[in-house]
Amino acid sequence: MNATEKIKDTLAKRFSALADAIQMPRERRLALTVPFADFPAVFDYAVKELKFSHLITITGLDEPEVFGLIYHLAHDNGVVLNLRTSVDKKNPTVKTVTSYFPGAEIYERELVDLFGVKVEGLQAGNRYPLTDEWPVGEYPLRKDWKADKQEKHHA
């Protein structure tokens, strides 16, 4: 059994309800979609017990009925776990993971600026990556946001 399968098995044993949802698209890649309520426990287990010591980044997705969030976690042995959850679009709020990974701050700010996802517990600081003058309520990576609309606004 290789390292990827071993991690997959351990994860399946710990979260038996999610066992069938764990995917292994190729060697060194694991993907798991978890319900929003289970996410903190799975994330905590992946970081603390499975030793995924590196958060590569967080990807936001407009799905488009919900916002998808993928936390790309990497292990020292090269295995990447794409831990995915989704939040309701009406009041999209997630908790910060900066207590696990201080470097996540900038990735979470991207979610705030580009998707309009609120991140609870994110410390005050400069926004990223949009300008300070960026109009309120405009979130460029949402699917209903079009670049030409913005251009017309400026013209």
Partner: protein, 410 residues
Amino acid sequence: MHDSPKFKIPLGPQHPALKEPASFSVALKGEKILGVEIRLGYNHRGIEKACEDRTYTQDIYLIERVCGICSHSHSTCFIQAVEELAGLAVPKRALYMRTLIGELERIHSHLLWLGVAGHEIGFDTLLMYTWRDREVVMDLLAELTGNRVNYGINTIGGVRRDITPAQIKKTLKAMDILEERTKYYIEVASQETTLIERLSGIGVVLPEDALRLDAVGPTARASGIARDVRRDDPYAAYGDISFDVITDNHNDVYGRTLVRVKELLESYKIVRQVVEKMEAGPITVKAPRKIPAGEAISRYEAPRGEDAHYVKSNGTEKPERVKVRAPTLANVQVVKHMLKDRYLADMSIVIAAIDPCFSCTDRSIEINNLDNKKTKVITWETLHTQGIAWHRKHGIDFTSLNKRLKARIK
């Protein structure tokens, strides 16, 4: 210091050195940095959004322009994800070509960095030497790909140009020249006392902090963290090639210098193996225009550290979502940590040492009284006058000396 005010100095966002404008708001007490606020995003061009409106082939060229130096890193990282989604078996020769260009890019980038680092500490001879030598690899890249930067070598399913036996000969000769020069730089880095003294003990990141703050690339490796995607999550031809992951335990800017210089030697080793092991064969496979629905994440060890691209496809010829995480973004928190409680004078070289940079000091100072949050801007002249007054108060007074000097001139 007595009751010296805390200063907040804005540095940036415009700066002539390297790429990426960034703004640093530095809170100072005396010369000591109390904290740094970083504002990024000045170069946000909306590339991720733009990718969604273009075909995969168009996106290669767009993605290649994410960075002016790591262009091949980004296009390879992106294309690997797309090829995984399309289920393409990329020919071996193409993977070797990508590895070759990738290492030449690293050589160009590390030599460029060494020059910039030299410049930041006032060692411009090093800048002139390294940038002269860098021309060897730039010429080689132009010969192999047609361009000095933005090589355009990648295409979905392979590469667009093959290498000829004559070019292999040129490549090997260039490696010999560069290796000799690099050995000289290692000698400089290990013996030149001004360089050692200036770079040692600044920008310190202890191994536990490098891990905690998720440092990547030479920044992590100079703190003893053996993190290298080429070895940990092999892509292109790296699985077939032997090389060492260079680490260092100095944990400072000096360590980062040693790591980069020694990595150059590893790159020459890799290039030699690549051209030796490269087997004849096709350089592309036919790729479909429409990519089946799915998602993939690809990693690449760029000269500055781990680069990551996530691609989600929807069965059409345009991607549903492209996410790019360049290495510098991962090192932002590390920079903040490096600067805290250190001296302002070390700032430019410390920032340059993670390999983005800025080099500008604004000509006015914005004072933020941290206690009552009031801000006022004072001019260079006022600062000058205040400086003289401060020294006078502390017993350093040149008034009589100036009078005598004036009398003598008369």
